[in-house]
Symmetry: C2
Subunit: 371 residues, 2 copies
Amino acid sequence: MNRLIKALHSPLTTAFLATQPLYLSAPDAVTLVRRLGFQKCIAGMAQNIRADFLRWPDFDKSARVANHSQGGVIELMPISDDTTYSFKYVNGHPQNTAIGLPTVMAFGVLADVATGLPTLVSELTLTTALRTAATSALAAQTLARPNSRVMALIGNGAQSEFQALAFQHLLGIDTLRLFDIDPLATAKLVANLSGRGLKLQVCTSTAEAVQGADIVTTVTADKACATIVTADLLAPGMHINAVGGDCPGKTELAADVLDKAKVFVEFTPQTRIEGDIQQMPADFAVTELWEVLSGTRAGRDHDDQITVFDSVGFALEDFAALRFMHEAALVHGVGERLALIPQMADPKNLFGTLQASARRIEPALNGVSCT
Amino acid sequence: MNRLIKALHSPLTTAFLATQPLYLSAPDAVTLVRRLGFQKCIAGMAQNIRADFLRWPDFDKSARVANHSQGGVIELMPISDDTTYSFKYVNGHPQNTAIGLPTVMAFGVLADVATGLPTLVSELTLTTALRTAATSALAAQTLARPNSRVMALIGNGAQSEFQALAFQHLLGIDTLRLFDIDPLATAKLVANLSGRGLKLQVCTSTAEAVQGADIVTTVTADKACATIVTADLLAPGMHINAVGGDCPGKTELAADVLDKAKVFVEFTPQTRIEGDIQQMPADFAVTELWEVLSGTRAGRDHDDQITVFDSVGFALEDFAALRFMHEAALVHGVGERLALIPQMADPKNLFGTLQASARRIEPALNGVSCT
């Protein structure tokens, strides 16, 4: 700490830090969301995500890069337009909760395309939960029947409250039918969401929870080819928001659910690998969400149609969420600068950073400055 | 700063920060290299890189993911073994120096494969220069003639002193023949390296610099299909350490140089896209460095053979370098913890971080804690 404080009090290093990326820690993100309010955050992110989906062709897109291991997966999700680059680091380790760690942890970066300079390093664990819920609600605004009020929420873990509140605020959902194989997870959700104007109905099975639901949201964590929802549970007109099936070998919907539904995805090449449609033939028909948002292709065709949003999470959503958090942080003065990039009077003189700190700066600033 | 200091003084958040990644800033890396000494750093990194190349089959390897733009490229370079994951963010923008920024800026991360928890966030601008030089020297130890003493150094920018000193310390190079199209770059190199026991001979052209050289190192930055070295400049037995040609459309060697040489690469699928061999047919014969290091395939076949190390920089080298810096930082107590991952009493209760900070922690700690 001592060194950083000294650095901040030196005019030299204050200028240095001003060219460095803003850093938003996990506590900073909490501060920011609390200051803005949950509803404003989720609405702002949904607005950013919609705006970025509407300029889909502007982006250099690729399926994420995944390193799979026995216990989980670590992924990198890069994307860029002409001016801004972003990537997210995110893991998925379903067994983590047993040792007190989150299943999903994430952080991300914004950078300037013209120079490659990183402008933001941010936590993305909390922010991912927000952007995933915002994306789900954005899709449902387009795909679910307009008068949807009842949502089944299958899987009551870390993401579930975010989904619940996003659907309450952005769609007018007023009733949640809850199920999780872990009753404590459901109890936690009920404790967190009571007093917020939602009717909370605790159910004893997926089948029970799905009864009478307009929308079915699945956010389960198990890394397995599960069949949380089967075709016999479907009712005409249901919208299924399938969030948890998001990597090879991790699905939530039975194949016959997909066969009976019109299926919508984020980025087809990625979803064919990671989504519930990994079970289906390579030419299984899907519609991309941006096409529906832009009016290029139809969404729901009629009230009785079953629609599925086979969500896996796409880099564009993180791009939009990171921009939202960056702007909000600058407005509210939250976060600090990281001294991540060497500062040099002559940018060709990287080696000089080793010498200058020895000869000129080290005694005064204890090794912080590297002009 | 205030918030972070308060956080550090709270027992609650001290425990919180202990489970967070170590952060090594650019100034921290300078401190660490100066404390260890340049020679020990370069030797230690070379040792780590050799050790990791020798267990090549243990790694989950992929070509890096590149986002190209008009002015440059931004890349992500992930790799993992059974226990440790790493990635590097790195840009390449040749025009950056005109606005006072480095051509190449980088940072990287180590993470635990079993949980996905990041353990280190580190600058990699300085560290990349060190690891690139260490890799070049490691390759030359195997491929150059053992009695090599004279090295031509074409391109005297940010990477050049690192290459020079790595070859001095690890190969016994005693004479450098220098050329850069920017005479100020050469003057900077001479100023930085005088008094270190190297004979420095400033040349007026690549052709002049190459005369009498045992090893030719090219570290030019221009993003173009350049022909820095042509076949007429070659002498029998030369080793060419081609470092600057490292992305599509960026080469340094004429095709006839490659035709006359035995060519060695890091990771063939990546080098075919990015290396000087991008000019050659897809079946152009190459040998991977790890095969030579492990004795699986021959390196230099005879004293008169021309050898080329077509280096583009592979994720494994960053993996090795990050591990080196991480261990050194822990030993020397350099760096700080980043509060990057939310800490929760119940890891399924991510939403609770928003509530707890409101109800219990916010007033005392100004929003820092999120248990």
